[in-house]
């Protein structure tokens, strides 16, 4: 270490070794004890049925939001489906800003991807139809599979309880 340093003193600045600092890269933390759970508050936060129940209630009091065969025993493709789902939910949140009443349900039947979403009534119908066509075309071109968006409007979000 000392010998290397002495040898480097004679070198011009441009050829000197960059600082020998170590870097650590880690992925975002998955707070497993707090995932998909709405924390209890003062009683003013309206929460839907889906949000009110924790993940350990899936299969008992809740259904599945994303239906595909990737997580079955002996089937492959779970990671790809999870990535596609994450992108689809962000895409929908961006295409229909502030309109989604509840989480969208994603269903995969063979090659076909069906997205079932509940929207609020803030936008007039012709704009909704445009966004529907836009989303279907763009997602279909992106994922190279037929994508069908099944939208339904509801007057308001239905609160299950207040936390």
């Amino acid at each position: 270490m000392a010998a290397a340093a002495r040898g480097l003193r004679g070198l011009p600045r441009a050829l000197s070794v960059p600082s020998a600092a170590r870097q650590l890269h880690c992925s975002a933390v998955c707070l497993k004890a707090r995932a998909a759970r709405v924390r209890a508050g003062k009683g003013d936060k309206a929460v839907t049925y889906e949000q009110a129940h924790a993940p350990h209630h899936i299969g008992h009091r809740k259904g599945w939001l994303s239906l595909h065969t990737g997580n079955l025993r002996g089937e492959a493709g779970a990671a790809q489906r999870a990535l596609e789902d994450a992108f689809l939910r962000r895409f929908l949140a961006g295409t229909f800003p502030g309109l989604l009443a509840d989480e969208a349900v994603l269903k995969r039947r063979g090659n076909l991807l069906v997205v079932c979403a509940l929207l609020g009534r803030a936008l007039p119908p012709h704009k909704l139809y445009f966004l529907l066509g836009y989303a279907e075309t763009l997602l279909g071109t992106f994922y190279k599979c037929p994508v069908r968006l099944e939208l339904q409007t509801v007057p308001a979000r239905v609160p299950y309880k207040y936390l």
């Binding site: 004890a33 299969g59 259904g63 239906l67 065969t69 079955l72 089937e75 269903k107 039947r109 069906v114």
Partner: protein, 190 residues
């Protein structure tokens, strides 16, 4: 789309090979006009989707369909549907088996850094339902499988195993000892 078998529900076929003979019921109905079946045989001659063939069909002794899913209620409803479809098409159901579910569990540390004693467990449950049908022809199997697969619910996977019946090959039809030449017995002198 016309349904050549005259079953209760609409079926769509891409293409299928049909037996050349279509057996009508017996002589006591000779005078009566069976509009459905007679019309069907006439339509099948002109229908471009139905092709007739002279080659013998492959026969299946057993068609085993294993269906896997996360939700038992979905599998139960699909079992009712598949058994009903088989009965409507006249396919005999050998048995409906429900193997026990398999659970894939894994345990992770709850925290990012330390706290080894506090962990989180996840599991994935797979429920199964095995439907066994017996004595089918290849065209019946193709029709049934296509109908049942087009109506497979999302999140459900299917595996199909077919057991073919074949004729015994010629070289083993007769026992070997009939064809071998007679071996002369040598006497053992003690």
């Amino acid at each position: 789309m016309c349904c050549a078998l005259g079953s209760a529900f609409p079926v769509s076929y891409a293409s299928r090979i049909m037996q050349k003979q279509y057996f009508l019921p017996s002589s006591n109905l000779m005078g009566a006009r069976l509009a459905g079946s007679h019309g069907d045989t006439q339509e099948s001659k002109t229908n471009p989707l139905v092709s007739l063939s002279d080659e013998p069909e492959t026969l299946y002794k057993r068609l085993s369909i294993l269906v896997k899913g996360h939700d038992k209620a979905v599998l139960d409803s699909y079992e009712y549907f598949a058994v009903l479809a088989a009965k409507e098409l006249g396919i005999s159901v050998e048995k409906v088996d429900k193997p026990p579910k398999t659970i894939e569990r894994f345990t992770l540390l709850k925290s990012v850094h330390i706290y080894k004693k506090h962990r989180v467990q996840y599991e994935m449950r797979t429920h199964y339902m095995c439907l066994e049908l017996k004595y089918l022809t290849s065209s019946t199997a193709a029709v049934y499988l296509e109908y049942v697969q087009r109506n497979l619910p999302e999140g459900v996977a299917m595996e199909v195993k077919k057991t073919k019946i074949e004729k015994i090959p010629e070289h083993i039809q007769k026992p070997v000892w009939d064809t071998l030449p007679q071996v002369e017995e040598t006497e053992v002198k003690s």
